[in-house]
């Protein structure tokens, strides 16, 4: 994917990603404190996460299980034996001044993720590693010549995922981020709520420029701490242009150690230089002596493997190929696991996939959004949706009636037939009965009949009027398709 500027100048963007995903464990990684967003500052802390003298960490096994789940979903080799390491650096939001992380034995390594490109197409992005660590707190720089530290987040379980530089645009990086979000939500291991900082991105970006037949690599730039898909995509696009301009101006190429760090200004939509040369950061990693190494038994791993669900991208592709849904609709249905599963149950219960899809993506989504729930949480029986779909297909109810029936499904335990009956929404499809009504309408409206049969300019309008009259007489319960057929026959 090269961008051609002219015959003798083209470039290719190279992007690798570092992603931090906060796992949705109830308690922190190494202590019993609750993980809670938005609590009173420093109210979800204890001596352990405050790094008080004498405290010791105890591993949260749930976090390990979640991390293994993701590593398996990312097709990683999962380490049978791993351990914790200390990563040393001084910063006020890190009370111990070291972070418990994993260094040379990451939980997962050498995996890949498939990301969706254009319709139906996917691309494999290789994963270098996935490891567990504890999050830091937050420094708050308010007014005055001091800063404050909130340590509620300190010690929260964090999964760090590092990809190979296999992406070639902001769009691709965004696609990976979105896919990963969907994946971890499917797996139930993270809420992946961007607003709450559950996913944070750090892209590494540079260009391969081909100029006058020679290839040049521009210096790598790492953009720190991006917390929206938009910022991720835009910062990469911005960097690509900035690096090209810089290269054309300075001819500077990548050398050892000239990696720089930049921040993203969301308002100006620009990256801003933070550190020119990557300071030789020496984290002095060494094995954490306060924790015992972690040995994963084959049984435990296979238990987790057996509980792995079908990944969203696989489901999406299958919905397109098996059910003939559009890629877009399949994407909407697989945005959340409960929606996808609901859809599948309704189809299994006999609903036509496209009809069920329409009911869910229209009425279902609207209702879910109104209530702030997912479709799966609406307490609707998938069988009822399947029945409703069948009723629409058979003409027992109109498409418009089906939406009010759907709304009522979430309010009651009754099935669509009972509801349609109660609401008088069952269409009259009895041709004999409808024929009588049509005849009566034709008798009452000779002018309109004439307009139609004469084939005048008013013909179409008059026909619509007659149809409307029939619907009025039947209080909207006539099947318009059958009425239309009768009208055509009588007026021909």
């Amino acid at each position: 994917m090269k961008t051609k500027m002219s015959n003798d100048l083209q470039y290719k963007v190279i992007v690798g990603l570092e992603i931090h995903v906060q796992l949705c464990t109830r308690s922190k990684m190494f202590c019993g404190c609750a993980v809670e967003f938005g609590a009173e500052p420093n109210s979800r802390v204890c001596p352990v996460c405050l790094g008080m003298p004498g405290v010791l960490p105890v591993m949260n096994k749930q976090a390990l299980e979640y991390a293994v789940t993701v590593a398996l979903a990312l097709n990683c080799e999962v380490a049978k034996f791993t351990r914790w390491d200390r990563k040393s650096y001084y910063y006020p939001d890190l009370p111990k001044n070291y972070q418990i992380s994993q260094y040379d034995l990451p939980l997962g390594a050498k995996g890949f993720i498939e990301i969706p490109l254009e319709i139906g197409q996917t691309k494999k992005i290789r994963i270098i590693r996935a490891h567990l660590e504890e999050d830091a707190g937050k420094n708050l720089h308010t007014a005055g010549n001091f800063s404050q530290v909130d340590l509620n987040r300190t010690g929260t379980a964090l999964l760090e995922i590092v990809t190979e530089p296999d992406m070639n645009s902001g769009t691709e990086a965004r696609a990976l981020a979105v896919e990963l979000q969907r994946m971890v939500r499917f797996l139930g291991v993270s809420e992946a709520d961007m607003q709450k900082g559950h996913m944070r991105f750090e892209p590494n970006i540079n260009l391969i420029v081909t100029k006058d037949g020679s290839e040049y690599k521009t210096p790598i730039v790492e953009v720190k701490n991006l917390n929206s898909f938009r910022a991720l995509e835009r910062s990469i696009d911005y960097e690509a242009h900035r690096q090209l301009d810089e290269f054309l101006e300075t001819s500077r190429t990548m050398e050892m150690g000239n990696k720089s760090t930049r921040g993203w200004d969301d308002e100006k939509e620009q990256t801003i230089l933070q550190r020119e040369k990557e300071e030789a950061h020496d984290y002095r990693y060494f094995p954490e002596p306060d924790l015992v190494p972690v040995e994963l038994t084959e049984k435990w791993l296979s238990d987790i493997r057996s509980r792995l669900c079908e990944l969203p991208i696989k489901k999406q592709i299958r919905f397109v190929t098996d059910f003939g849904l559009s890629n877009y609709d399949a994407g909407v249905l697989t945005a959340e696991r409960s929606t996808a599963e609901f859809f599948e149950q309704a189809v299994k219960a006999g609903g036509d996939p496209k009809r069920v899809c329409n009911l869910l993506t229209q009425e279902g989504m609207r209702l879910a959004k109104e209530k702030g729930l997912s479709i799966g949480e609406l307490r609707i029986n998938p069988k009822h949706v399947a029945d409703l779909a069948k009723m629409v297909d058979k003409g027992d109810v109109s498409a418009s009636a089906s939406s009010s029936i759907f709304l009522n499904l979430s309010e009651s335990d009754k099935g669509p037939w009972a509801l349609a009956g109660e609401l008088n929404l069952i269409q009259k499809s009895d041709a004999g009965e409808l024929e009588k009504i049509v005849e009566q309408v034709l008798k009452e409206n000779p002018k309109a009949v004439e307009d139609v049969t004469s084939g005048s300019k008013k013909s179409k309008k008059a026909r619509g009027f007659l149809l409307g009259q029939v619907m009025q007489k039947t209080k909207g319960q006539a099947n318009p398709k059958i009425v239309s057929e009768i009208l055509s026959r009588k007026l021909s």
Binding site: P47, M52, G54, P95, N97, R284
Partner: protein, 488 residues
Amino acid sequence: MQELSAKQLHDQIVAGQIKSVEATQAVFARIEKYEPMLGAYISTFKEQALSKARHIDNKIAAGESVGQLAGVPVAIKDNMCTTFGATTCASKILENFHAPYNATVVEKLLAADAVIIGKANLDEFAMGSSTENSGLKKTVNPWDTTRVPGGSSGGSAAAVAGQLCFAALGSDTGGSIRQPASFCGVVGLKPTYGRVSRFGLVAYGSSLDQIGPVTRTVADSALMMNVIAGHDSADSTSVAEAVAPVCDYLEKLDEPIEKLKIAVVPQFNAGAESQVQKSIADAIDVYKKLGADIIEINMPHLDYAIAAYYIIATAEASSNLARYDGVHYGHRTENPKDYIEVYSKSRAEAFGKEVKRRIMLGTYALSSGYYDAYYLKALKVRNLIRGDFINAFERCEAILMPVSPTTAFKIGEKINDPLTMYLSDIYTIAANLAGIPAISIPCGFDDDNLPIGLQILAPAFAEDRLLRIARMYEKETNWHKKTPPILN
């Protein structure tokens, strides 16, 4: 009364012959008299102790059941967290630090109805072999006040030897219980790594640190172990009961071990002063007379123990002590220019020289480019030393050696020569590197009437046998009954 052992005192308190209040009062009377001379304590809790003692007396009077240390006044080293008083680690950086929680061992002492009377002095953050590195206080040896009590648990050992408590807890990273016990003529046990919870022990070298008792007798050591040993879910490195069950260390204490096989390491002992060597040789004879089979073994890698230890311990320390930064608690510099200065000045102002030296050493050892040559190599040496012990214990049940190459040295004698000071840990370090239990028991006096210690090492989790072997010797000798002349 002050000459009773902790166990004897406890038995008499439970029998109603002595009141805990009387014992506690007697201890505080001695503290008033001798503490100005010895300097064993950083803090004492007279009111709290007396009130606890009264509470125990009332319980006993009411016929309620009481714990194994009921009514016994004990001291703890001031690197174990307590919700009462400060937890200073003898450092200016934590001088006013009040912990929000109790260390597991403190909870266990309290649950056993012990009366905690004070927190004992130590080398700052337990780094040292003489207690001269304390940033807060000077402790002297009760046998000769011009000499050091040993370290780093010098306060605990001096308090026990000076009868300023009936038993104490120390911590041992490279000999910090055994060497001061030896210098002060008392019993010091470093349990197997993982036998006693480290939760609440302010870390120095996390993979080496272990809490243990400092007592007047072997039986008291066993009694203290009955209270403090066991798994703790708050300490991942403490060993599960299923792997190594805790037993009643007192139950069979007086039963000698039949067909005991003891090893000595001649090549290794030759470095000790001649009077120390002689006392060890005499101790070996005692065991021979008791029917033990003495064998000579070779432990090829022990010569590298000190080098490996000072890399591993300082590397861990450099990381463990990073948290003392003036940001969240402890000493903070005044008027810092920026947050970097909060770190650099707070630390520069409040850490002592030896602590700084070890942080520098450890930081260097872990630095990129040096890690393999130092830290990784030290870990390999550690494994080889472990292997030496595993091989040795296939042929014997215990190994005898000195605790220290010398008896207590003069205050100031080695403080400006850190290398010589480090070398005085030569006999004690290996047990920490291997994680095995080792005990120091009194085995004689030199010409200056300074105590000499005998060290016995046993396989991991064999504390019960180790204590029985020590008790066999103690029964045959009277060294442990001697008290420092200046106190009489």
